[in-house]
Symmetry: D3
Subunit: 244 residues, 6 copies
């Protein structure tokens, strides 16, 4: 079910085993070839596809689209929430529904820059409400293996406005891909864990081999992510158990 | 122009006299007859209608939909940002674009509970960045006079899921109005400025005379708000001047 | 009763239906003709007049005089609390007395710049302590109708160091009015909800028609505000009820 | 000069060597014999006496009366700001005047519970504005030596609603002293630096030998504190220098 | 060089290309067989070994040992900083030295629970000080490949008080390993990104195959991590460049 | 017992009358003759000496070494936590162990700049957890009387890198004293409570008569502090009572 369209008595009538799905995205530059809302578009599209398959097990909230994107702020049109603001928003959304009796929450993330913050926010919530069942993951985690197989460029993972992400957008919203602007970009980083702005490590904001993107690759990655999430969320719904 | 669909070079090419429009809404109970996303739907629809008329003067951001709705939290499905989280998000959105050279911002609000917070956030920004041109208003301010004329029930202003708001939804998203659930509701408050929860002062979450709503009233109010905003935003664009 | 003068056993002996009255003011420029403490002086004077009439129903706290006045900071002698600091102070005062069993609180405000903040603070308190009875209002709300009648200048409401406010000071503290400095000032703002500093929209800090002020107008406005507040606070004391 | 009574042009005309004096007090229980505003009354009275002597060197602000009094909250009528709220208020007052060119600030404190917080706030300000000249002290520091001489009870320092403080109130505001309620109270603490509530270490809220208080002792202590402060503030005004 | 032992003139004389190394650890339960300070001990030992090899390129600070360990708090003796407190401490340490002209910082982390927080803190710093060169990594990242080879149990990575971590402690501080208490523990988690407490997913606090640990394995992992870090830090010192 | 070396079952087995000892120090310049870790070294050494004498009554945590040292930041190598960060860390350490049933805490401080902050943090904790037994003191409080007797220079108290502190370091860690750099330094401050940076009131960072330091003086002061603390902590352990 999609929360936005429901009335409160309809929400009130839901089974409390329902898994609340919260998509998180961003509004940040994606090079000259993808729109700034790309991460939000993809996290939403994947989440809605999951909802289309197992809607009876899910309460899908609107997308928290104002991500943590300070590393993109040199590029016009990028919006970034503060770290504190992002943290508050995610916690507030979950605490609101927790008050109504929901206790299973899974965040489907479309923006790598949100990952650490999703982790911190959920850990803070767990501390406050130990009985909550909380999880978060990039949708891209669920198609990481397929990336290594499908991608033709040397980067075998989702990066940013890259072969994988452009492919996904060609599948989901081809009207928003500027095909004439596709370009490969991005420098390699020789030391693990360095913190860089995108204007330090790209020429025009993308990382990876966008010129190799195709809608067909996008469809395969998309379907893989949806299938994996359908499976994971179904486990959470059914009564997820820590294994022996 | 709609920011979400643009690439960063496209945003970068915009004239910096462009007025940034930020819609603010909520995800909160609207009685048994309207969906929880009503305020966000209406603020977005009005803003998009303004953009459709004078798009060349406007950069329209995605809607900040996670409003301050703690007074509705007793009703399932209501989400409320914390006061601090709401404040951070609005300020961060504006500061991001300020960094890119935009300096005219107008917030179009769809939820009364955000009004004080929009005021506080913009005043804090003004303190930090005195040269910004900042304003905020409910879209409903722009059709307040017409309300007094159009509404047939005793409440002559927009309240909550009332004659006016249901009429607007009948005009904008009739598919989401539960016509069979329409009801009049809400108690009167004998002292100015009292702080109440909606479960204290309504039976099922709405205030006003929803049973009197019609799509035609909605169209009139909607068009009036849009016209007023088109005029106001055009003033800001043209080089708004404080009068003598 | 006035809290400042009481001992703790005397406070402890009070009926817990007693309404706690908290005046909020400011210390900010009021043009060349009124002292910076004007808002605090007036909020205090009105509150004390209410207390003089129905002291047995009221516990009057000292005035929270450090208001939110960042829009006046260009003028020497203006002090402004931070938004966060103002919020903390008001909440802390109420939470302290809540701990002692008081549960009815009404804030009498003398400074427009505090209004949004009073709203936010009381809503946060209501969320934490749902059983509190909380309200806030400018004293000027209670004489707004009379303003339209009494004021001779084109501005028919209380603005800032204007015909109404100077009149009130001529009634309450004539020794502090610089009659030789009275002046009309202030520009009109063509778009609703714009955020401006007072140095942007006035020449010397006042808005309105101070030259038309008289002590007699002040007395009428003052008495009207006091009467309205006596009535409102008495309702809160007696067992205020939401109407049908 | 007293800030509250001044207009902004009058403040603007002041010499910027003027020392800003900020009294800090509390609104907290003082046993059955003194009113809750005692600390604020005394800090204000001392500050005004200093101003009466060397007013041309001083800009005296209104008293920050909402102190940090959580250790007194068990007693009805005690108000306590949060630690954060107190910190914000003091810093905001100073930063406001710093913006107007004042740079010499001295806090005259009337409440021991504010001491650590005054220290923290001023150190934070010094970090932000290294050129500020900042100091704080209890007025009681300036009569500490005389206490040892004047007080007859075994406690040879100012404690709380004690011989010294009651004496001061007998001198300053005898109408507010409940002479028939005077009592000795308070337990001794065998380990340095223990954190206690007043309901843990007193019977009725006072510490020390209030029954020994006299107005004459109060006058001597008061005058000593005023003289010491006049001297100290004059040094700050004249161009205070760190000694060799 | 080790900062703790140096005087300020000695620090002042250092070349500003020096890489500041900040070890981060924890004080949290490590099962019945390892002491609570394990993560701090290992992060410190690795960092000191790096310093022993290339001390002239490094300024090694004391270890930030109060980690983010809320997921371990059910076990006595575990200390956890708040998320905010951890963030402040790391940022403050770096900003202090940044003020002295150092601009290359690398955090060597010994506790997985700090990883997200190190990321957030460094990103916030980068936003404030864009010219800083900032990086962070678990020391365990540098021996991850060798883990897959060396470890005999089914878990092929460092977990918590596991085969790898106990081996490392057998190498570094064998006196602190309770060999008679070694045990295998920990449940598997069927969905990625779930947030769990250690009392939910272990019996006695450890995860992995501690019974298989040996000092020899520990030495190999330790040396591998040190070698990798020596190489990485040397790159940062020499003038680390983003690759083509 | 020393917490760092213990396992959680060992901590779990402790008597809850055990007094938790938390040393607090700093990492800040101590002139040209002492290392930056001096305050942490001394607070730790004193605490360990107390533990060596009455270890069965004590749980000694690692030292919170990142103190509040903003007044030393002009000198390279000084690290200062923010006021907020210091506050969070101390509260978090205590709240963690409070969760495990410990309720007696005593902070042994080695840095004057932490004193106000220790006071504020413990008062905040006391408000949250009224049943905690909380105290804090500089170790130097316990040898203050002896200072007046032992010190030969005109300063009869511990200042900073002075006769007393250098003497203590000569006793505890003579290898870290730069004897050839010892110097007397520091200006006198003619007004109580002034807030100064160390670069304003010293030439090279120390205050007092370091040239008069001897290891023997250090031993006497050290032993006196240890004895006093052993006595105080034993009282807390035994069932400390407020005296009549």
């Amino acid at each position: 079910m999609k929360l936005a369209d429901m009335t409160w008595p309809e929400v009130g009538a839901l089974d409390r085993e329902t898994v609340v799905i919260i998509p998180t995205g961003s509004n940040e530059q994606h090079g000259p070839h993808l729109p700034v809302f790309t991460d939000s578009i993809l996290a939403t599209a994947v989440s809605e596809a999951v909802e289309a398959k197992i809607g009876g097990k899910i309460l899908l909230t609107p997308t928290l689209w104002l991500g943590a994107s300070s590393h993109h702020l040199a590029f016009p049109g990028s919006l970034s929430n503060s770290m504190a603001g992002y943290n508050e928003a995610l916690k507030a959304a979950i605490e609101s529904l927790h008050r109504h009796g929901f206790w299973k929450f899974y965040v489907i993330n479309g923006h790598g820059g949100n990952t650490s913050l999703n982790d911190v926010a959920l850990r803070e919530l767990k501390e406050l409400h130990p009985n909550l069942l909380l999880g978060h993951s990039g949708y891209f985690t669920y198609c990481a293996d397929l990336c290594a197989e499908v991608l033709e460029g040397p980067a075998k993972m989702i990066q940013h406005s890259c072969e994988a992400e452009v492919s996904l957008m060609m599948h989901v919203r081809p009207d928003l891909v500027r095909e004439d602007k596709l370009r490969d970009d991005g420098l390699s980083i020789p030391v693990p864990g360095m913190i860089h702005f995108f204007d330090e490590m790209t020429e025009e904001g993308s990382r990876g081999y966008a010129t190799l993107a195709t809608a067909e690759k996008g469809k395969r990655l998309f379907d893989k992510a949806v299938d994996g999430l359908v499976n994971a969320v179904s486990l959470l719904h059914a009564g997820y158990n820590l294994g022996g």
